[in-house]
């Protein structure tokens, strides 16, 4: 065990828009573009006052990665995101059903 281990404070569960911009380095206009494209579970009109969580930060990083590294457009990203969300949901469902009985 590292004797200089540094304890982290409790991870905040909710972030303001300004914090998300700081964490991800994504500007406000791009975030609005993502909201309007339906990539984020936030209504564009409420983006300024919305609360964001770690899941959304991870989603933003994934979007940026797909755009910058693979050149996927927003429609493609939306489809990929929906499919991955559905796979995760089905995995949970399958796990629940298998445990039954």
């Amino acid at each position: 065990m590292n004797p200089e281990a540094q304890d982290l404070p409790a991870v905040p569960r909710r972030y303001t828009l300004a914090t998300v911009i700081h964490i991800t380095g994504i500007d406000r206009a791009t975030l609005l573009e993502y909201c309007e494209a339906g990539l984020l579970p936030v209504e564009p009109a409420r983006m300024e006052t919305a609360e964001f969580d770690d899941h959304l930060v991870c989603t933003l990083r994934q979007i940026e990665f797909l755009r910058e590294t693979h050149g996927v457009n927003l429609a493609g990203i939306r489809m990929i995101h929906q499919l991955l969300t559905e796979v995760e949901r089905l995995r949970r469902e399958l796990r629940f059903v298998r445990e039954g009985g």
Binding site: P9, V11, D54, R61, T69
Partner: protein, 329 residues
Amino acid sequence: MAVQFQDYYETLGVSRSATDREIKSAFRRLARKYHPDVAKDKRSAEERFKAINEAYEVLSDPEKRRKYDQLGADWKQGAPPPPEGGFPPGGFTPGGAGSPFADFEFDGTGFSDFFEQYFGGREGFRGAAGFGRGGAARSRTAGAQRGADVESDLLVTLHEALKGAVRQLSLRRTDPRTGAGQTDSFRVRIPTGATEGRLIRVPGKGEPGAGGGPPGDLFLRVRLARHPDFRVQGTDLYHDLPLAPWEAVLGATVTVPTLEGTVDVKIPPLSQKGQHLRLRGRGLPAEGGGRGDLLVVLSIVTPDSVTTEERRVWEELAGRSHFHPRRTA
């Protein structure tokens, strides 16, 4: 670091030809015995409980079990090949641009290196293409590049999800150029109500940046440990309760487990198989406050054997009963 093969069959104490039912039965028996909340020696029990959970995670999934069986045979002959559709052995290799630390492994997540390498954090979001795990190595200044994000699963017990917990994690990095190792230990707070799939971001614990860029983040994805008594769906818990036929017909009061001890539940007369009895507020904490429910799912079981006297009583009932389960209304 060498990855040690884990004999999951041995962990559960079952043969390699064990049926799904035998595996489930062995898991439930051992999980009850070694559950951290009931065992006397909590530290050793916790380690055993995690190992049991990991073994069951693989052996209860037909696809994972098939891969594991193939891997086991290869392991005995020497170095294990990568699993089908999987990734090469050699540790966690995010391979972010410019990062000198190509290999790193976690300790304290509740999963062994062996599991992580072959069944855990190398699927789906964390695929070889790096989606999610690779993250966006976004440039903030010319030449500086933020380190890639890292994603890993974190095994969380239902009691930890109920009460919240603090987990000690350690991250071992190996510089592939020099072979030098570096261990970074830190604590992570598991929030109350950590549901399956929830992400916990640990800032700055991903890959180091390049050219003076900041490190990436670590994203821990909550995986709820299997519990011998409960299934989880969202914030609701399900408990399967077997009843004798006469308990279902006549009604009864039975004791059922909850996360905070046992409660007595009244089974109404003429209960049916599959019927749900809802215990409000006995589930996991919900996002906006409050708690989910505990649903008791009734099943009706019959005896494996009967005595001569019991058989006589059943025959008498059969002769007198007006009940015909296959008659349509």
